[in-house]
Amino acid sequence: MSPTLPFDLAAGWLEEHVVLPALYAVGLMNWEEVAFGWALFAVYGAAQVVLTYAVCVPLERWRPVERWPDARAVTVDILYTLISRVGLLPFITYVMFYRFQVTLNGWLTDNGFVPPTLEGFFPFLLGRPALTFLLYVVILDFSEYWRHRLSHVFDWWYSLHSLHHAQRQMTFWSDDRNHLLDDIIGFVWFMGVALLIGIPPLQFPLLVLLLRFIESLSHANARLRFGRLGERLVVSPRFHRAHHGLMAAGVASVNFGGVLPWWDMLFRTADFSHDYVPTGDPTAEEALATGSYAQQQWAGVRRLARTLTGREPHASAS
């Protein structure tokens, strides 16, 4: 049996019994095909949340780095996760990416160019989905390393990204805690690279699930290291915690890698020396750390405005 079968059947059930009748009732049946894309994203997103919860909660209880008498600041991170993985965001990004890909690649085809795909560059990949996916992962993770690193280089960009760093109670829920504008930049960045290598959005859902799990796990409030070799193969909670450390907020940060620490090692931004440092961004106003979802978003806009008008201090390490 295909390992994706239960997810696909759940998405099919959602589409058939919930989404389609709703679209039909409100006269939006022209969305039925893309809606199935959302249903798949939503099911895999929900599976990501369940898997991450099932693994990370016991870990965080068993070996926590920190214990907080009041963990209310974590609640808003749960909302970020649900919006990012199950709700509207996957649908919008999927629809936008899909439409743009069809338009651009069709135009290229019309003009005598073969739209770029990884399988086009390396034809032996066709029919080898696991190997193809691993190559996609390496390329996209490399691209994400540079996006993330640049978000710490430019003050205006960090003023948005600081929302992610402001959390002093970092848990596995914190992975998706981002400013919407930062998410949009991230999406455009991803889309540019994905179009260059022709990534198929729905071809490898199970492996995407695994990668998102690693990213969430890396934010866990857990004393977990993968050993000397393991930490150099996959980003661990200890490795990524150094990136979120108080001393590393802003431009002087380290350990930018999302899944693979290789890029940090290659470009000399890796730091394996720190042990479970306190997290947060001392340069961020309190609303970015403990505000509601709306307050955090608005505080991000305010910080961006201050940066653009020269009223925000340089976001270096405090």
Partner: protein
């Protein structure tokens, strides 16, 4: 017992008798649109034999009039895959922008390709596959049907609730008319156009000269695709939202019988034994419907199966030697 139902039973019985004489053999090719693959299914064992990788998103197919080339459109991959219809071996890839629904004109002169995502209808030379003319048609060209004399092709425009008629002799748009919500499948039948309305609960019957709606037929919520049985005695309609496959009398368009087919029934092919093989878009499977008994057997295939091609003469041994 109504006359239509007696004719229906007779047709089913004939199909069953024919199958007793010549039991179904052959292969079925299924386009797994969300898994970048084609499933090859054995018609005898009803098992998936192999999966052929393609680049991105295969949806529909067209068989050349001489029966020698099976073209499968890889929509996001911007390719037509030219396959051997007997073995499904890939002969060549042809770069074509956004090939969604496609079909050769009855005289074989043209191949029409609907660019669903790019709002265009391309008319290609049927022999050379060179582009003859592009028609930008908003929005979302979906399914197509030809007039029997190959002089016109009719295209449903899903997102603008229209059908457009293109004159293939003058290469001009004759008309584009509103016909109802979200038109999908379209067929020329008895000098009329029959259109499945996915945003409504049935079919619209159009005058092909003007595109005016003459009558509406209720079949079920989300009518999506329609197929005429090989003996031309039953018009089959798949209703996506209702989850039904409905048999209609092709002359009166009256319902004969409705079957419950879950999982988003989409395309149909007809087996020599009288059974219908139906892709279930949301269930990763095919439904094999026996219209005589109403029983359904399912066959597991890839994610989001859409188009389906059947070759009862194809042989599994040839397949394993060629793919």
């Amino acid at each position: 017992m109504s006359l239509s139902f007696r004719r229906f039973l007779a047709a089913v019985l004939l199909g069953t008798l024919a199958s007793a004489a010549a039991e179904a053999h052959g292969l079925v090719l299924v386009m797994n649109s969300a898994e970048a693959s084609l499933s090859v299914v054995d018609m005898d064992t009803h098992r998936e034999l192999s999966r052929i990788p393609v680049l991105r998103e295969p949806h529909h197919w067209a068989l050349s009039p001489d029966g020698r080339d099976l073209l499968v459109g890889d929509t996001v991959g911007n390719q037509l895959l030219d396959l051997d219809p007997a073995t499904f071996a890939l002969r060549r890839r042809v770069a074509v922008a956004d090939p969604y629904q496609l079909g050769f004109s009855p005289d074989g002169k043209f191949l029409t390709v609907n660019g669903n995502g790019r709002n265009q209808v391309d008319i290609y030379d049927g022999a050379t596959l060179g582009l003859v003319k592009r028609f930008p048609l908003r929005r979302t060209p979906s399914h197509l049907a030809y007039a029997p004399d190959s002089g016109r092709v009719f295209v449903t425009l899903q997102d603008s609730d229209q059908v457009a008629a293109i004159d293939l002799r003058t290469m001009t748009v004759l008309w584009d008319e509103k016909v109802g919500k979200v038109p999908a499948g379209i067929m020329w039948l008895n000098n009329r156009l029959i259109v499945a309305l996915m945003g409504e609960d049935g079919l619209a019957v159009l005058d092909p000269a003007s595109g005016q709606v003459e009558r509406r037929i209720r079949t079920g919520a989300g009518a999506h695709q329609l197929f005429l049985s090989p003996d031309r005695k039953i018009l089959w309609v798949n209703n996506r939202v209702a989850g039904t496959t409905v048999a209609l009398d092709p002359t009166s368009l009256q319902e004969i019988r409705a079957y419950r087919v879950s999982g988003g029934p989409d395309d149909i092919v007809f087996a020599p034994d009288g059974k219908l093989w139906i892709t279930q878009r949301f269930a990763r499977s095919l439904a094999i419907l026996d219209p005589a008994t109403g029983q359904i057997e399912t066959v597991a295939v890839g994610r989001q199966p859409h188009g389906i091609f059947m070759n009862p003469a194809a042989d599994a041994a040839t397949l394993s030697a060629s793919n």
